[in-house]
């Protein structure tokens, strides 16, 4: 009988340690993704990293016992905000391209 109770206790400790390990990896991954997203030179890469960060954040909310917020974070934070940022990036790039084209046209007129 004593052997059975000792096994149950050690299993409980293993599960708690697994929880701690998972939380530590999750926290570190969140910080690292945030740093990468902030310091990356390519804007598209930064947005994709932000979406990944949102998904990991949803996992963090689940670990904090807040499943409703996790659902909202995954849908809005990762999904919709990511789509909005990508759409904004596309509009910025197209505006930059048209302005560059206009500048080229102006230069050619000046040279003429």
């Amino acid at each position: 009988m004593e052997a059975v109770t000792v096994d149950a206790v050690s299993m409980f400790e293993t599960v708690t340690m697994l929880h701690w390990a998972f939380d530590a990896v999750l926290g570190f991954a969140l910080l690292w993704l945030a740093w990468l997203a902030l310091t990356s030179q390519d804007l598209f890469k930064a947005i994709v990293l932000f979406i990944a960060f949102g998904l990991l954040m949803a996992l963090a909310w689940v670990r904090l016992d807040a499943p409703d917020i996790a659902l909202a974070e995954a849908a809005i934070g990762a999904g919709l905000t990511g789509a909005l940022l990508l759409s904004a990036l596309a509009r910025l790039k197209s505006k930059h391209n048209t302005r560059a084209d206009h500048e080229k046209v102006d230069e050619s007129e000046v040279h003429d």
Partner: protein
């Protein structure tokens, strides 16, 4: 032409930038220590208001405490949140019209995926809305999934017809906030306080408010993705 700034050498500028960066790092480290100390000195399990919520959960009409707090006990906050969403959309609309649609055919994946996903996502949104009463879910979650449906359709090249965009769109955008306000007014006329639901009908009232809020949130999010005032076809 007068020079507005004294020309600095390259090394001076680099040194100044390094100084600012070190100052920023020092300030952030101080803030991080303060935050860490504050968080670590919090009690491990803070009950907060959860006992009061658990005590009054039967009179709220739902069995999910989060939904009860959002739509019943703190319904006024949710009303104001719907107003904030509407204001955000009005802000985006005030910046200009929607970007012109370029003729481009979606790729094979984008052509097929919405056909498969849209019906499934609508079902998922309906399930999340209904399930919010007794499990994680609710109006915002269901509304954001439906908003994702709108985003998928817009990405695949669909654009709402001009007839849909003039009045029905505006009605759908205002419906969530409007239902909250109308319900509050009806309750005041019935002699209760603003948004104080009678416990017998609370479940039905919550479902009605959540359904209109889901529709409103979904259309607001999809309109945000459209990127500007939708082109209603009328030449201005």
């Amino acid at each position: 032409m007068k020079k507005l700034m004294n020309p600095k050498s390259m090394t001076e500028i680099v040194a100044q930038q390094m100084l600012f960066r070190l100052l920023l790092v020092a300030l952030l480290a101080v803030m991080l220590t303060g935050l860490g100390y504050a968080v670590l000195s919090l009690p491990l399990q803070a009950p907060g208001l959860s006992e009061a919520v658990a005590k009054n959960l039967e009179t709220s009409g739902v069995s999910n405490p989060v939904t009860a707090v959002l739509i019943n006990f703190r319904a006024y906050d949710t009303l104001l949140e719907m107003g904030v969403l509407l204001l955000a959309l009005l802000g985006v609309w005030s910046l200009g019209g929607e970007p012109e649609q370029r003729e481009s055919s979606p790729g094979a994946v984008l052509d097929m995926l919405p056909r498969l996903l849209v019906s499934v996502l609508i079902l998922v949104a309906g399930y999340l809305l209904w399930d919010g009463g007794h499990a994680p879910g609710g109006a915002f979650q269901a509304g954001s999934v439906l908003g994702a449906v709108g985003v998928l359709l817009l990405l695949a090249g669909w654009h709402p017809s001009a007839r849909l965009v003039r009045l029905p769109l505006r009605i759908a955008l205002v419906a969530g906030l409007g239902m909250f306000v109308v319900m509050g007014m009806v309750l005041i006329l019935m002699g209760r306080r603003l948004l104080e639901y009678p416990p017998a009908q609370a479940g039905a009232i919550i479902l009605l408010i959540e359904a209109t809020a889901t529709l409103s949130i979904a259309i607001t999010l999809a309109s945000l993705f459209l990127g500007g005032r939708p082109n209603s076809g009328a030449r201005k």
